[in-house]
Symmetry: D3
Subunit: 139 residues, 6 copies
């Protein structure tokens, strides 16, 4: 049976800083440079969620992209968009707000709800800037 | 021996609608929403074809991209560009014109001709919009 | 007083064909080529609406972009998106569905409603493909 | 003599919020919506600076783009990148951090230094997101 | 009567170097830096040609974009694409191959042929990289 | 333990030609077409380097992207940018300057230095134009 991969792109705009509370301000500044700016900085993040499955013969869809978009928005985008990743996002509490950690946590949030739509989560990719991105395929 | 993946991007502009003839108009509208508009809608589709193989020592090429482009154009683009995916494309007859089905059928059209060029088809990716895309790697 | 130009981008996906009813099918095909395909083709259209005005000292805004986006969507996008430009769009009836005519008609639809928001319409730009676009600044 | 327009694009990543200190928190939230989030949000801002002048016959340049880039970076980017537009940027103190106000202030910072390079500032364009941008041509 | 602006984008890939033959190699290197590399470097150039005119009531077109594209290709792209701007392009002989000079010369090549198509050349824009571009509107 | 893939994009502008010294000029022109132009042509090349590893709990990083960018620049970009791929780049001597060969050689240059940063090289992707790209995952 044909396995097809379907990708939906969403976006969110958020503030954050890279800061390890076990370190001095000096060490944070030394390691993270301007990303440690105490008054925060921010990004337009792009998020690509890829799911896989077999197309339903009645619709031609692996998943209805309206449903997938709605699920991504309600599960993660509403919690991330126009927020502070360090202060406002429960699933990031206690974690450094690197793009790596963000991708892992978005995966954890999405994996079961996407299974409930009848397909499987394949990857979560997040671009922090045009030049820097990460991708996570689960553990 | 080094296996290298080579990707060529092509584009086509087409009309379509999502419509299951086994369903009432109401059910089509309920499931497919505005994509079921009876007078059609359309897209600028982007198509990425990825092939794999070892570079030829005399040319440095896995495949001459002029040949690959020419093959993709004559095999699929000429049948899709400025066409109606539901009415004009023989290899889509009887199928829902979802991007999933389109990617599977483009794969079927391209697999053997690309083998004849001396490399192997790796994936067919089609983006219907900037936010929605599918990828198929064969069965 | 500082005059600032503000641009909002929206998108719509539509079917159309180029067809002059005063001509024979042969002449339509000769002049318009594949754009005259009788079963339609389609595009992802990008629309940029630029307005101008002085920023309000209390908000820093020439116009609230949520209001501008909402106005563009209700005034033109809802009438164009997932539609057939020749059959479904009242403000295009009787006109060739060229991008030039589309930009002029979108301008006519938007000019007064944008004035009602407290700024002036400066230009309407529409891209039919990545390579072809038109811009209209009013008459 | 030929007048040529030369554009350099730079980028910066910053946090901000839209907040009018003369208003209650409720009114800020009512007017600015999620842009008023008290813990900030942020963006990848794109900045295009366009200058105009006649090409120097000895270099073919209106301006050496290395010099223009260096000037934009030292004059504005270093003050904006990885900063909080409300708290960290002297030339934005006391102003609402709308993109409109940002473009006007960037113009003010750049106008004289660009004249010192031997050409004239023509416009400052800033995109806050892919869909929202402003342009300022001076007063 | 409505004046509409129509833009066609074309591309070419070329080698060049910035080198003033009246200067020593040292001065060329000092002024132009790595752009003076004696063995050349190169770019994917993007070219946007904007014309203006009134739409023809029979076609809806200011200009048939197939004709405009064909004219741009035969008049300038064929002379620039896969060429060396310093050695292979007659209309650049004796000129520094800056993007400014290139835009001026492309304008000169295109102005009369575009008038022969029944519209007027409005601007020539050339991007050498994603960050550096020039635009020329004629003298 | 979570394995995360991190991608950094860099760019370089270079001249090259496709030319097999064992062939006559006629055969080179026949096989490579305009890519064999004796006076060279050139491109803006995009390079994506993907590494994989587990995020460091103290930084949240698989690799500090400042370090990865610095390593890519010193190891390959400085040798490629504003250079002639056939004449100026030691690691390309004796090889046809196809994008395939370039990707393989960039991999060879980067594999050990990236291991020294504490992560593993996953892939090297190079786009010669918007439509043509190659990817190499090692042998």
């Amino acid at each position: 049976m044909p396995l097809v991969y379907v990708t939906r792109k969403e976006q969110f705009n958020a503030a954050h800083k890279l800061y390890n509370p076990n370190w001095s301000d000096e060490k944070n500044e030394h390691i993270f440079g301007p990303c440690a700016n105490k008054n925060w900085h921010g990004h337009n993040y792009d998020l690509w969620v890829t799911v896989k499955g077999e197309p339903n013969p009645e619709t031609g869809f692996v998943v209805d992209l309206k449903d997938l978009s709605q699920l991504i928005r309600s599960t993660v985008i509403e919690k991330l968009d126009h927020k502070n990743l360090n202060l406002d996002v429960p699933f990031m509490f206690g974690l450094l707000s690197s793009t790596e950690n963000l991708a892992i946590q978005v995966w954890i949030q999405l994996e079961q709800p996407i299974a409930n739509l009848g397909c499987r989560l394949h990857s979560v990719r997040i671009a922090e800037t045009e030049r820097n991105s990460v991708e996570y395929f689960g553990s």
